[in-house]
Symmetry: D4
Subunit: 252 residues, 8 copies
């Protein structure tokens, strides 16, 4: 409940414009709506810098389309992640304003905001070609939250010179998202070479002992380099969202 609204109510009670019983009804549920208030703060806070998001996986195309339409009604930019090609075709036919981005497997409704909400640049680094969808999901998420994003793709541990070639971009960045499958060594190397905070994203790329991304996940968690933290396997969205939160200019 926002303070102005509360003051109005109390003043109306004091002025006897509103009887006590009616004010009671209004206030009665305050304690248990409390978390809701906290949460509304959260929502408002998030809305200032963040798109609404729909996890496409596990939903029917009809459900995705309906939720996108609903969320976009308020005018904010909306994003659906992990949308299969078939679902994307259905949704784009049903929602004319929807744009399908096949590489990050996403659908976006509404404009990409100008990149003016972050303190600095977010750089997204990825190891192999097969990691690109996850890396693009991270990059898109950060861009939809109003960040300037630089992409440095295909710079695996077996070819560090390509990574070093982009040193200036990485060292200037506020935060680096580093995406890698297989042995997951790239975040350690980036953090060791450039001393930037790294959000490490393991991917399920690989086979056999990569255990669907577990090998990369464990490697990233046990990194000996400073400044590395980890999100779930293939969670490009979560990395992009966290990077946007960390890069956000603080409201004073």
């Amino acid at each position: 409940m926002d303070p102005d609204r509360l003051r109005d109510l109390l003043e109306s009670v004091a002025a006897r414009r509103i009887p006590v019983d009616e004010a009671m009804r209004e206030l009665r549920d305050l304690p248990f709506r409390a978390l809701g208030f906290a949460n509304a703060d959260t929502h408002r806070h998030l809305r200032t810098g963040f798109p609404e998001v729909v996890l496409g996986e596990g939903k029917t195309p009809e459900q995705i389309a309906a939720i996108l339409v609903e969320l976009a009604r308020g005018g904010s930019t909306v994003m659906a992640t992990r949308v299969s090609p078939d679902a994307a075709a259905f949704v784009c036919a049903a929602v004319p304003t929807a744009r399908h981005l096949p590489v990050p497997r996403a659908i976006v409704v509404g404009p990409v905001p100008p990149p003016d909400r972050g303190r600095g640049v977010i750089v997204v680094v990825s190891a192999g070609t097969a990691d690109v969808p996850v890396a693009e999901e991270a990059a898109l998420t950060a861009e939809l939250a109003g960040n300037h994003v630089e992409r440095i793709f295909d710079v695996g541990v077996a070819g560090l010179h390509r990574l070093v070639a982009h040193r200036a971009v990485i060292e200037r960045a506020e935060i680096a998202i580093v995406v890698a499958g297989m042995e997951g060594a790239l975040p350690s190397v980036v953090a060791g070479l450039f001393a930037r905070p790294v959000i490490a994203v393991p991917t399920s790329v690989g086979y056999g002992a990569s255990l669907g991304g577990i090998a990369a996940l464990l490697a990233m968690l046990t990194s000996c380099a400073a400044g590395v933290s980890v999100v779930n396997i293939d969670n490009g969205f979560g990395a992009g969202q966290l990077a946007a939160m960390l890069n956000r200019k603080r409201e004073t």
Copy 2:
């Protein structure tokens, strides 16, 4: 915030006995005290039927003794679980009213309440001798919460006749806590033979493929018998506490 207190406040505002600013201050923190209220309910509810508990593991003997003294001050019965023999000796020397129960590795301060808080009997069944400490921890916990507890120990799957011999006790019980290590088959058999709800407690008894209780845990989770749910490995306390909550006469 209780309704009467809220009405008083609003009426004082309406009567201009309290200025709006002061009412604002009073009400401002309501939203965030909300969960605290909910929780105070919880605590009161728990206090009516339950001993205070200290997890002894990972605490120094000095810490256990201090917390027991502190908690017992209010007059309620207090229990410390997973207390090593050395710690128990120290605590009993420091807290003269403390009683050490070596089998369930527990210390109790205060009287055992009369067994009049439950709707029925809680039966605790265990498979092997090595499972007894966990079974006794469950039984003691339920007794300290005011329940009548029956113990049927040492009735492993390899000797079902001993189990059947106690059929009357089991079938009359409100709920059965079944404790077993190794292959963890006993809860399935008890639930299959007697159709009582079973709280299954896997123990870490066993070696090799028992994986510290994981084999028993998985077996219990995949039980084909009706009415089985599972708590953590060796968690006799949790089983006893849940059984007491399920057996509690409902306040009307």
Copy 3:
């Protein structure tokens, strides 16, 4: 063997109406029919409060239809779980009295009994949209066993205010079934806020480190809140069945 029948037999022997050899034949198999007797008790006991159930998974549509017809012959309500849409279509065509409930992936033959067999309300709480099928399976199972069920869906840990809004329902409930995938934190939170006994149902919703529901399962097993026990991943049926057993009015 019931005592009256045994007394009749012995008196017939004493009266020499039945020769010893015939009594021998009658009594010879008693020891090994023993467990059968126990079990018949079980069956009778279950029948009083419970629908017959067919696990649809791993059976052909023809098998499901045949078993449903067979079980429904006795007049009791019958339920098939984990039925695929294709199998459901076949079964409903073959068994005209069958009703298909697509969300809990179930087929029901026979009437839903009146909710008068339980001591109180069973509340089913679920975290995300993707957890609803498992939650609905739990709710349906409890309803078919004659319970009053309340549903509180889509109240994940990231939006606790929605949960708190339903506090009255939860606090009045006899038992809560809490269904959650991913990090599986909801049962801990429900048990901590409301002090109700919780049957926690992990779901396979999630990806990567959720390991097909293992992450949620482990989190629920290691819950620091009082009164939580756990069933198998996605086992809505088992949770509903256990809740019904726990909620059953005891025959006196």
Copy 4:
């Protein structure tokens, strides 16, 4: 190398009918043909009591058909396991003497031998309907090796009376193969009740915490009953083959 052949050779050398160089050539590879000799024993030994077997999984229908024809040429009975329905249709069309057994997913060429090679009866016990294919594979394998097999199916832990009803068959058996998925408790119970040696076969039947049969496998390995050993998940063939070897009348 058989002794007579060696004596002939040496006598021919002594009689100078064979020059030393030629004997050298003959003997030179002896050491490395050694294991081959051992192995030929093995083969001969196996042929006396055992069908030839083809693992169908991972082979094309053409390959299965070709190998069956090749193996059956010598007149022995031949079996292919884990044959999909499509592959079975192809093979039966291509090999007119092939019989398809859909439940154990097997194809057999040649007659079932009379059950006269075993010392006693092999009993195959299984828990649920879904375990039957594995149980039938075990039974068929033992039958094709010339054993008398008794089947006791659908006697899960939740209905022990059905198991006890078959006590006579089990107690007379030379060896019991016990097949179960989910919590895998049946082998422990059979071994505990009847004191027969048990070959336990875990199946992949189940979901969630059954981990594709791992839960049943671990439970069987940690059985507290005497006389239980375990084969791989779903390995009905291996269990049948081992039972046949154990039941074999020893050549004297």
Copy 5:
């Protein structure tokens, strides 16, 4: 209940030497003593060929000594397994007739029976020096059950010639117990070379990727050789007991 006793009872009733009420009392508990009867059969059966056994692990020296004395009272040979050196010293001091066998970590009270209860020889094969305690536990168990046991130790996969040198012993044996840690390949090789039924015993010998015996366990379960079944890691006792059951001359 044995048939003669039952006939006596019925004839006494027929002859009115025993009133019906007294017969009722006698017979009333028959159904639920049923499993006990089955189990008594088991016990009797086991006693004819088997020592009583105490699992020493997890028991105090005082408990081990007390149980050994109790069990030995009946005159049968008794064995305690997994006894630490300290516990063994205490037990041997307390029970003068106890003999400590340090390699298999066992204590035996009573004579080793003559090796006349088996159909043939049981051979125990082990891979490395560190596997010997488990192998000796298996051998001792089988000997105490009245079997002739041959030991072939230290014949790892890296030195197959030593194994082949003992071919005669292995091929004559009724059953082979094969004990190995690390990669656990020995049972496959023994079963492949000699076509004997093999009870494979994985040991916890090894480090790193041996995972406390899991590597050997998995290798043995997935053996491509015919006739291999597996017991728990380090479970020499179980292997010896099973081998004795399989080798037992059948009572006719």
Copy 6:
């Protein structure tokens, strides 16, 4: 190699003050010193805001003392983590300027810098008493890097009101480090209630299914709340270091 130095060299060559061969020698190793340069940047960068650190675990007290003395020689503040009490006593005796902090198990040499290097406050939240050492390690690390740190301890999921009571501190913080063992739900709840970026630190507190912290780790990785990333189990130091990097005022 810095540009001025390179220009000097080339101009010296152009002016023939340095012969080509000498310039060759100077430049020859440039390519392979490259990474060293990058790294020197890193070191310089780190030195500006960060203490030198010694991982105490796995080192002898003598080694820890020697390294501390060596590192402290340059005047910077130095920290040793995971120091056992015995090692700490030795080190403090050997290095008079060393201070032992027993709760975070750390030794510090040199002054705590003023908290003026961060943009905002770092808040450290922990669930249970047993998580405090890890939480204190995180707090100390951040403080030694010149940050203002607020501690909110003992606010587990089972008592959310205590957490809510500290809402102002959390919402004002630049970043939150959330430390929890067992089911690891606290980071999800904090991120959900307060919309702050969360560095989640699972601890090894717990038993059984907590699997040494794996349960908490998986729960944190699969959190459904926005803005959560994870470091290794018990890695308070890594969390503190990352928080300091994220909070650092950027040099312009």
Copy 7:
């Protein structure tokens, strides 16, 4: 940067043919191109003995075709691995010079080089028919790198005589690649019998406890034989590439 090019540059500076500023530009990026230089060495080095390789898995047929055409432009032999039959058909239609090798699931463009780049023979040994695709991938890779390869297929542990029959080939080989699924014992046996260095390749062949190749992987890692190292499950390509590197004649 190669020394001659550097000397030219410096001499041009000394001769004032190139101004210092231009030389600066040329040299400025040297430090960060450093790893690139190292890597160029790598590439050149690899090109002398190695085909270019494309991992087909996870790429569209169009992508595979495009990359093959691009890589083959330079005239070197190019290989694509893990190509599905459908993708292979597309690629062969699009790239007329492409040859599809269905067993190793590979596509090759360009000639197989003469086998003159290795010091000796590389022998590839495999256990079962299902392991052949992985074994052929290893053999093809080594052949495309200019090696003489001998194949010994279908020599599982259960038929060691077939292995021994090929002893001469194995003992003459420079290195052995040994491919096996299921229990993965073959590398241990080959290394034990022949004392050749062994690159062990576990395959995903098997079911149940083979855990997709984990059982074989663990067995190979814990091999008790000398000279065994291991690559990823099903990684025939990696084994062939490593064998080629180890067999390479060293440039002097």
Copy 8:
């Protein structure tokens, strides 16, 4: 059996100096001594380049001393690995010629052979200080086999410049052994930068998600760099032995 000895025997038979029966006895066991011959080759082969080795772990000091004395009797150099400090003290007291090397936890009896048996240099690279014992075990093993070994220690991924500083040594080496714990990235980086064949040795250094070395093991197995194979966790000895076999000058 060596050919000369066989020719002698046959010529003696031809010359009738030895009767056929005596030759029979001599030759009779040839087939089964076959593998022994193969193995004797192995042994001889190994002896030419390799020390005898005793695995100290799991043996008593007395056993280690006795075996060392026995093995050293033949004059060859002997090595014991994984010897605890206490055992080492005992052994050195008992065997005056024994030298204890505390870092690699080894005992050596006999001289280090001159480094003249390898084709080139073996380089041992390790990541952290805690990995040194494993790295030294590898280096010592290779040196005792007559190789020239270079050590490059403490060059973790977080400080690649130190690694690059040693480029000349690594690029000249015949083979690199790379030892690393935690995230295990170093082998990938070494193989990527220098294109040398790498034997990767994961160590158990680390905590939490390093899972006793499993994280490093998986990372190494899934390395995206060419030329990496892996041995067991902490298996410095195995890596050194394999490197020596690979580096061995081939006997012509």
